[in-house]
Symmetry: C2
Subunit: 137 residues, 2 copies
């Protein structure tokens, strides 16, 4: 077993950030196991998540730290953080307040396909994005 | 709701591959909800997955198509494929034969930290990698 696959190194030393300094974080409801979203973290947002126990990401579109729920109020309380064998993907077990998805659904994975062509909605709408984020001008 | 967030376009048209032509795929046990791994797909591996209903990825380390389980026998039968709001992450619901992780665990996420420093093993060893893949020379 290589050094990156065991538990000898510290957690932060084990995380492998990519060439942009980011690592993907899968977010899962800690009680139901439902996968809610995937987002990206840099070292700063990971440290903030560990410190505050609230999920904090790096927004690639806005190029800034993103405390999940800072606009919508839909914060994520972090219960556990897991890391994969290669150290290059994280899994957060959270309690999600409201919906995780900016479109208004509970999960960002609100569409599924079985035939590879058609898609259908497979999740519950939790809020109206225009009410939460304001109307787009 | 933008075009990329609804169900009007076809599934394959909705998938947004990154600048390497890849999209991350989260893999979840379809019965227990346990997150097993994350891997990457290109268009070819996604089409093969849809066609065969067996998970097929793009191996970034070997730079080739990777039918999951082709070496270990630990195939993944694909029940559903979901796509997130931005179209840039997939979620596969699968039946996993044996362990998903090449280290021998059921899930690649076999280590967790709660304090951000120490890590502990939180999963079950399913097989001995040396027996399955052969000894490393």
């Amino acid at each position: 077993m290589s050094e990156n696959q065991d538990t000898q190194k510290s957690f932060l030393e084990t995380v492998k950030f990519d060439d942009r300094g980011l690592v993907p974080a899968i977010v899962q409801d800690h009680e139901t196991g439902k996968v809610l979203m995937m987002a990206w973290m840099n070292l700063e947002s990971l440290k903030m998540t560990l410190e505050k126990k609230k999920a904090c990401y790096w927004s690639r579109s806005r190029n800034k730290l993103w405390l999940k729920g800072e606009s919508s109020g839909n914060m994520q309380d972090v219960h556990d953080i897991m890391i994969d064998c290669d150290g290059d993907t994280l899994l957060l077990k959270v309690s999600q307040k409201g919906g995780a998805c900016h479109v208004g659904y509970h999960s960002c994975f609100y569409r599924k396909t079985t035939d590879g062509e058609q898609m259908e909605i497979c999740d519950t709408l939790m809020f109206d994005p225009e009410e939460v984020y304001g109307k787009k001008s």
